[in-house]
């Protein structure tokens, strides 16, 4: 049963380890093992997947060459898709149903937006574009924070509410009723992974704003 703050399982060197951290390790192990096995047997499937994600990002950002941004965005979409889906397995609860994980992912997006903006434009020009009409500067600062908060809360709220509703219905009608709800939360998990990646690529595209396409 997942509550708002997840349960501590054991202590590692004096730090509490929660059950979502163990599910994160399981998701990482699942991604590693499946990539290793697919690479051994059918390597063209991995190339198809990378091309598919690369075309998706190029379509959203309206750029032709997205190799600089493909590692961050591709990792986000694959990890969030696996992490949202691993909550349907019996002993795991999704890593993204913990507010700490989603805030960490949103902070990765926040810092990478500024990193790519400064790298493509230079420090002074990037800061000057923030304050170009000077009365819009507070609005820009507030919008940066609200983007990060809304990214993390959207993912957290979707996944946690799916888990809580499945747990509540499970305590009412055990066998058949949670199944459509779990299917719906799988679908919502994949959609939220796509939306997270699409919104982060939109933020990065608005920060770089290169004129040659």
């Amino acid at each position: 049963m997942q509550t708002i703050s997840p349960q501590v399982v054991f202590l590692l060197f004096g730090l509490p380890v929660r059950n979502t951290v163990i599910a994160t390790w399981a998701a990482m192990g699942l991604i590693f093992c499946s990539v290793f096995l697919i690479n051994h047997f059918k390597p063209y499937l991995l190339e198809d997947l990378v091309n598919f994600i690369s075309n998706m990002i190029a379509g959203i950002m309206n750029l032709k060459h997205v190799e600089h941004y493909l590692p961050v965005l591709g990792t986000l979409v694959i990890f969030i898709a696996v992490a949202n889906s691993i909550g349907t397995l019996p002993i795991f609860s999704s890593p993204t149903s913990d507010l700490n994980s989603t805030v960490a992912l949103a902070l990765v997006v926040f810092f990478s937006v500024h990193y790519y903006g400064i790298r493509s434009k230079g420090f002074k020009k990037y800061l000057k574009e923030f304050a170009s009409p000077i009365f819009l500067l507070p609005l820009e600062i507030i919008s940066q924070f609200s983007r990060t908060i809304s990214l993390s809360l959207r993912l957290f709220g979707n996944i946690l509410s799916g888990e809580l509703i499945a747990a509540i219905v499970f305590s009412l009608i055990p066998l058949f009723m949670p199944l459509p709800l779990m299917g719906l939360s799988l679908l919502i998990g994949l959609l939220q992974a796509y939306v997270f990646m699409a919104l982060s690529s939109l933020y990065i595209a608005s920060a770089i704003e290169v004129s040659d396409l």
């Binding site: 709220g157 509410s161 959609l191 939306v195 919104l199």
Partner: protein, 90 residues
Amino acid sequence: MNNLEPQYLVTIVTILVTGIGIILGTALPAIVEGRAVSKALDSISRQPESANEIRTTLLISLALLESTAIYVLLVMLILLFANPLLDRFF
């Protein structure tokens, strides 16, 4: 109303507020999303070759509109099942 203990008052007000909040928080985003989908379908029927771009924009916009409904659901779930206000009165 004056001689109700604080826990009972908090529980009754919480139930009323969650009832009204869930109704408003799911009906209003649903109305607005229906309007967005109808405009998207009109534009797909007018220009079938841009269906992929319209579908991408539609999905992202629906997820953004849905997120406010999710915020309301999250607050209601916290109020119902892990109410922090019940322990404030001692």
